[in-house]
């Protein structure tokens, strides 16, 4: 179990983050320069936070008040760098064996062989890092970090330098890895899709602050703030005022739509009448329907972009300037619409979330 609660000030930037995970995969999501990597460096012991506490499986790694700051050497935390940071003058085998020099020769050999096999690097033991592809280097870095059996594995942007095919392969391998690796995994990314498919918990960062932390489903389906929602890839936002409430259902009056939007609020959220709120919905969840029904509004197509598997429509609304919606409609769901045509746009109630 990993508990992190740290603050760190740098010139023109300050990091403030708190989260805790069990033996699971946590994705830290955020734009570049938001403090994701700094968090990882603090946990690894490469950067000293200003205050706070980091505890891993009951062992205090850092405590500002008690003045504890274990060096990276004694933290049992593995780190895979964004650029892999392999030792260029050592072979693949020597790289992997670097962290287990205290073992006997036979044990080292066994362990290296097993790890290389698991990482599908058999036969590359004698190669040098510069003789490997990006994906292979990534796997060597993983094997090297796993060799000393760390209690926590940190991955800094593991996918950023790889092309799509290699990326998917690695995604699959990391998934496999979680089956035999007994520790927690924490990885940093700016890609929601990668984060979502791999993690169980998600932390969203923005400008050095932890904006939201929780189960990935909760985070992705119910972003807590506008900033978090944008970072999570939500494109559609509707500003409105609460006009009625019945149990979990609220009506929101949005300027420009021809009727009220009905949305569901989670039990833990309190909402009052006339409260200004923002409704959000992912562009993939919008539907174009033939007739008017619940949560359906007439909208005019302003622009169309054809993509490989879907059409992306941009919608305008009569009489309002600042309301724009984007819908990604799979091609099999209907023929291409021309700009200027007016259609019924459906916002499924269970896909809408409320930001107060």
């Amino acid at each position: 179990m990993l508990k992190v609660n740290i603050k760190k000030k740098l010139p023109g930037f300050s990091l403030d983050a708190a989260f805790s995970i069990e033996r699971e995969i946590l994705a830290i999501l955020g734009p570049s320069g938001c403090g994701k990597s700094l968090t990882i460096q603090c946990i690894a012991g490469l950067v000293r936070p200003d205050q706070g506490r980091i505890v891993l499986n009951g062992k205090v790694l850092y405590d500002g008040q008690l003045g504890i700051n274990l060096p990276p050497q004694s933290r049992k935390v593995g780190l895979v760098f964004q650029n892999y940071a392999l030792f260029p003058h050592l072979t693949v085998g020597q790289n992997v064996a670097f962290g287990i020099q205290h073992l006997s020769k036979a044990e080292i050999k066994d362990k290296v062989t097993i790890l290389l096999q698991k990482m599908k690097l058999q036969g590359l033991e004698g190669r040098y890092p510069h003789q490997l592809s990006g994906g292979q280097q990534q796997r060597v870095a993983l094997a090297r970090a796993l060799a000393p059996e760390p209690e926590l594995l940190l991955l800094d942007e593991p996918f950023s330098a790889l092309d799509t095919q290699v990326k998917e392969q690695l995604l699959y391998e990391l998934y496999e890895l979680h089956n035999y690796y007994r520790g927690s995994i924490l990885f940093v990314t700016h890609n929601v899709a990668e984060a979502y498919s791999l993690c169980s918990k998600m932390a969203v960062y923005g400008g050095g602050k932890l904006l939201q932390f929780g189960d990935k489903q909760d985070v992705v389906e119910g972003p807590a703030t506008l900033e978090a929602a944008k970072l999570l890839g939500v494109e559609n936002f509707l500003q409105g005022v609460v006009t009625c409430q019945e149990g979990n259902e609220v009506c929101v009056q949005v300027k420009g739509l021809d009727s009220e939007v009905k949305a569901l609020i989670p039990d833990n959220k309190k909402i009052t009448m006339n409260q200004p709120v923002i409704l959000g919905i992912r562009s993939e969840f919008l539907r174009i329907t033939a007739s008017s029904s619940a949560n359906t509004f007439s909208a005019t197509v302003s622009q169309v972009v054809e993509e490989v598997t879907n059409y992306t429509y941009y919608f305008n609304f009569p009489d309002v300037q600042d309301l724009h919606l984007v819908a990604r409609i799979p091609k099999q769901e209907g023929a291409l619409l021309d700009p200027g045509s007016t259609v019924y746009l459906n916002l499924p109630q269970d896909k809408l979330f409320i930001i107060t």
């Binding site: 490469l46 990276p72 050497q73 933290r75 970090a145 060799a147």
Partner: protein
């Protein structure tokens, strides 16, 4: 004509010993400087490099004040019954001091070029700072270190000004090739001067060849990453 090899022998002995001293001091100073974040960083760096910039006679003069019988260290040594000036040790000290900045500067550059991430990776893998230095930093910085060593040797071999100030010109004891050449020309012994010039050109040229070879290896090394 019988050729006198004694200055050659003294020169080589001095240059090798001075290179050996500059090697360790230069690397230690460079390594310390790369990690030092305290006050007066630029000032200390300037002091380390000063012997390159100053005229060798000024260095010799400073060393003379320092090691002389009235100097701080000279007095201490005198109490132990030792005198440094005008001895073989003086040639080594003079050559070491002028060779040190070259070793220090090249080693520092080489250390700074080693990616911090790579050393950090070793840290997270449990390696001690000592292990990291010997197994990661030194091998990666090696081409630069080697080049610095060769440069230091060349500088130590060619040392004249500081040597003649501190060690004087005692045949068979402190008379190195450059000093011997100066003396031979002064005395009009052109044959002797030609011989010594030829010897030192041969040694220096081999040093340049060695340096080029190391540079080529360094380029291959850099290409690898």
């Amino acid at each position: 004509m019988e050729f006198d090899l004694l200055p050659v022998w003294i020169s080589l002995k001095t240059a090798f010993t001075a290179t050996f001293i500059a090697f360790f001091l230069g690397i230690a100073a460079a390594r310390w400087m790369v990690h030092y974040r305290g006050r007066g960083r630029d000032l200390i760096d300037g002091l380390f490099i000063l012997p390159i910039v100053l005229p060798p006679t000024v260095i010799g003069f400073a060393l003379l004040l320092f090691f002389g019988n009235n100097g701080p260290l000279g007095r201490l040594l005198l109490r132990l019954g030792q005198t440094v000036i005008f001895s073989w040790s003086a040639t080594v000290i003079a050559a070491s001091v002028v060779a040190f900045p070259l070793m220090y500067q090249t080693a520092r550059g080489a250390f700074e070029q080693v990616e911090a991430n790579i050393e950090d990776a070793a840290r997270t893998l449990g390696a001690s700072e000592w292990t990291i230095f010997w197994k990661i930093t030194m091998p990666l910085a090696w081409p630069g270190i080697a080049a610095g060593t060769v440069l230091s040797f060349a500088r130590a071999l060619g040392e004249f000004g500081a040597t003649i100030m501190l060690a004087g010109n005692i045949y068979g004891k402190t008379q190195t090739i450059p000093v011997a050449i100066y003396l031979a020309v002064e005395a009009g012994q052109m044959g002797k001067a030609y011989g010594l010039v030829f010897v030192i050109i041969c040694i220096s040229f081999s040093v340049i060849m060695a340096l080029n070879y190391l540079k080529k290896r360094q380029r291959i090394g850099a290409h690898r990453h």
